[in-house]
Amino acid sequence: MTGYLLSRLRQMVPVLFGVVTVVFLLIHLIPGDPVEIMLGESALAAQKEELRRELRLDRPVVVQYGEFLLGLAKGDLGTSFRSREPVLREILRRVPATLLLSAASMVVALLIAVPLGVLSAMRQHSVVDHLSGFLAMLGLSMPNFWLGPLLILIFSIGLGLFPVSGYGTAGHLVLPALTMGAGMAAILMRMLRSSLLEEIRQDYVRAACARGLSRRDAVLRHALANSLIPVLTVMGLQFGALLSGSIITETIFSWPGIGRLTIQAIEARDYPLVQGCILFIALCTVIVNLLTDLLYSRLDPRIRYE
């Protein structure tokens, strides 16, 4: 297990290296001058040159890249051009909001997906199955920029249950989590249904029923756990996507997460901050995928990592 873990951690290095390299090149290639954006048009050309020198943007891109890698090796992500704060501090300030929304969205998705997925598998072709299929289609096809305001209209304006937007109380979390969780619930629900349907047809389920277990108990106690492996894979991938933040959901609900920070950094051509944000997102994604892989062995004892 330890060997496997170390090998996976080793594999993370080239992935992250690739990500930072591509991001570094892309952000330097797209048009837009951070100095112009920072100082505005009215600044003198000499002043702009001065700042360019100070930010070391006057050096060849290769040199800048080398310096960036050197800083990274020392754990220094640099300083944001825009706020003049260390990039790491900027990111860490947004991490709690991002983690909270991601976790809450995942909980919402599971609360919807697991009961409906199990019910539709156990009662295939029933009204419940068709209804959950319809709901899944709805969840997948409804874009967040439409669902978010719709939820606000119903739950905030109509029923007056939750705040429209903002961050700080538990009430603020509900609508953005529902918005982000809905689409994911649809994917997980369909995935769980098809995976569970396969398991239900296995001999061990039939054997459990023959031993006197009710069909419901046989499914819930035995088949469900085995059907979760493909669901877990999707969950891992989806959670990675959640951590990178949903720009649209964060914008609608004024949620101060990593997604919005990344967009603001790109708009301001804040190179160190863009690099830091993307590195954080990539790191979260590979870590979540690693944890997902490790969880497989928990769910299925036959899976062993050597």
Partner: protein, 519 residues
């Protein structure tokens, strides 16, 4: 038992949801507690007056920081921290501070703080984006606690407009998101970047302390959400943040009212004068004649804009009267194009006289305007290709002169010296904002004189000539000036809408009691 266990988590979750619901919902709107809640369409990147450049930061600073002077609605300087000022000579300006000025922490505000604020901006090590504004300052003296003397290297008419800058205490660090304290009517209690800023009344304010004790400014980038917050009552004040399409729906809520006043943000069509087609003045005039601005204002702005004849708003002191208006006249446009040598090769056929590209940002309204302009130019035989880009890319192209036509808006013009910056031949980027590469020795001479001339009356005459010349040459075509629209709770009173979207008069606002508001 199994049933109870399986149902328990859901029962608990329902209870938790109910608890969250109860904790999350506010029993009454903030206006009932006398709290003013303003929504801004974006978050400021900085609220340090020495560094802030965006409109949102400036608007917050108008509530939290006091300057030596401020500008009234017509652009005239009026006292703020300074009770008076005088020009001992064109290069020596003396400000006399009011007595008993205090910062939010109770410490005295003196001339040394004023000197420190401007010296900090001028120090290259601090990388202030405002340093160029104060380039003519040679020395700042503070001979006594209430006197500040600015010595300039040369006469500078726009100098006074630059004195609208929040003063901070000596030793204030530029510390990221922690704003330095000020001496404005409100103090900052809490600033959550990307979320909101909470302000409370500063009782030691040198003027009359504000009637409204608490102000919350929320940063809401989504226009639908700003509308929904207004509808719910959790936001009660939005200036220029409700889409023209949504205003009628907002007013259906009995608690909201709309106020409208002339603005100063001038949208214009920019031409690249280095382009062989657009260098021809007849072509530029033809394009101007072919654009039906009135119909655009009526259909897309829903009437909330005024046609422009200059980049200066009509209420601004330096705006020239009698500028010949460009009227919508497609026949005249066709004739002008014919005389410029660009005849339509196949009459009403599909072939255009020539093709142009039009660059704009990704703002939805701007893209709609571009589509209408495209159709209108098509009618006179000009094929227009619209290219819309993310702001950074769009602006970078404009700065590099990589465009034929583009549309942008001048915001917050404080002084007619904008004409030097935007049209002097020496101000072609990277140095200034003459992006189209306009060159006219007469304009150069006038704008150079204008920035040195201390007399406002003489400056007005200089800039009148400048505006007439620009209306003749059309290096840019002024389109319209959007009106400032305030949607507010009907109980809020006392706010004066200025052309520059100024938030200074928040301190004059009051909340009318329910019974009075109902009358």
């Amino acid at each position: 038992m199994g049933d109870v266990q399986s149902r328990f988590p859901y029962a608990a979750l329902l209870l938790a949801l109910a608890a969250i619901t109860l904790s999350g919902c506010s029993p009454k709107p903030p206006i009932d507690d006398g709290t003013l809640v303003i929504a801004l369409p974006g978050a400021p990147s900085n609220i340090d007056p020495r560094l802030a450049t965006d409109a949102y930061g400036t608007q917050i600073l108008q509530m939290t920081h006091a300057s030596l002077i401020r500008m009234d609605a017509a652009g005239n300087p009026v006292p703020d921290l300074a009770e008076r000022w005088e020009e001992r000579s064109p290069t020596e300006i003396v400000f006399r501070l009011r007595e008993g000025l205090r910062f939010h922490d109770g410490k005295e505000l003196s001339s040394a703080d004023v000197r420190y604020t401007f010296a900090w901006i001028l120090d290259p090590a601090n990388r202030s984006p405002h340093r160029a504004t104060y380039g003519t300052i040679r020395a700042i003296d503070a001979p006594d606690p209430r006197t500040v003397i600015f010595r300039l290297s040369e006469p500078s008419a726009p100098f006074l407009a630059g004195m609208v800058r929040g003063i901070v205490p000596i030793g204030s660090r530029a510390a990221g998101y922690s704003p330095p304290i000020g001496a404005g009517p409100y103090r900052v209690d809490d600033f959550q970047q990307d979320s909101e800023i909470r302000l409370s009344r500063f009782d030691g304010y040198f003027g009359t302390p504000p009637a409204i004790e608490r102000v919350v400014v929320k940063f809401l980038p989504d226009s639908n959400v700003r509308f929904l917050e207004l509808a719910k009552g959790s936001v009660n004040f939005v200036m220029n943040g409700v889409d023209p399409d949504l205003i009628p729906a907002a007013l259906e809520h009995g608690n909201l009212v709309m106020e409208e006043a002339a603005g100063s943000n001038a949208s214009y069509l920019g031409f690249n004068l280095r382009d062989p087609v657009l260098s021809e003045p007849l072509v530029r005039r033809a394009i101007a004649c072919a654009i039906d601005r009135e119909s655009i204002v009526r259909s897309l702005w829903k009437g909330h804009a005024d046609l422009a004849d200059s980049i200066l708003a009509p209420g601004f002191w330096a705006h020239a009267d009698g500028i010949p208006a460009v009227r919508f006249d497609p026949d005249a446009a066709r004739r002008l194009l014919d005389s410029a040598g660009y005849r339509d090769p196949d009459g009403d056929g599909p072939q255009p006289r020539f093709r142009l590209t039009y660059k704009t940002s990704q703002n939805e309204l701007r893209r709609q305007i571009a589509a209408v302009v495209q159709e209108q130019l098509h009618r006179v035989g000009i094929a227009l290709e619209i290219q819309s880009f993310e702001w950074g890319t769009f602006f970078s192209d404009i700065r590099k002169g990589n465009f034929q036509l583009y549309s942008l808006t001048w915001v917050n013009i404080q002084d007619p010296d904008i004409f030097y910056y935007a049209f002097h031949s020496g101000q072609v980027p990277p140095e200034g904002a003459n992006r189209g590469g306009y060159r006219n020795p007469e304009i150069d001479r006038l704008v150079e004189r204008g920035r040195r001339e201390p007399s406002r009356e003489k400056r007005k005459e200089i800039y009148r000539k400048v505006q007439l010349l620009l209306a003749r040459d059309l290096p840019v075509f002024p389109l319209w000036i959007s009106r400032n629209i305030l949607v507010r709770d009907r109980r809020l009173e006392g706010f004066e809408i200025t052309p520059g979207e100024d938030y200074t008069s928040v301190k004059e606002m009051t909340v009318r009691r329910e019974k009075e508001a109902g009358r």
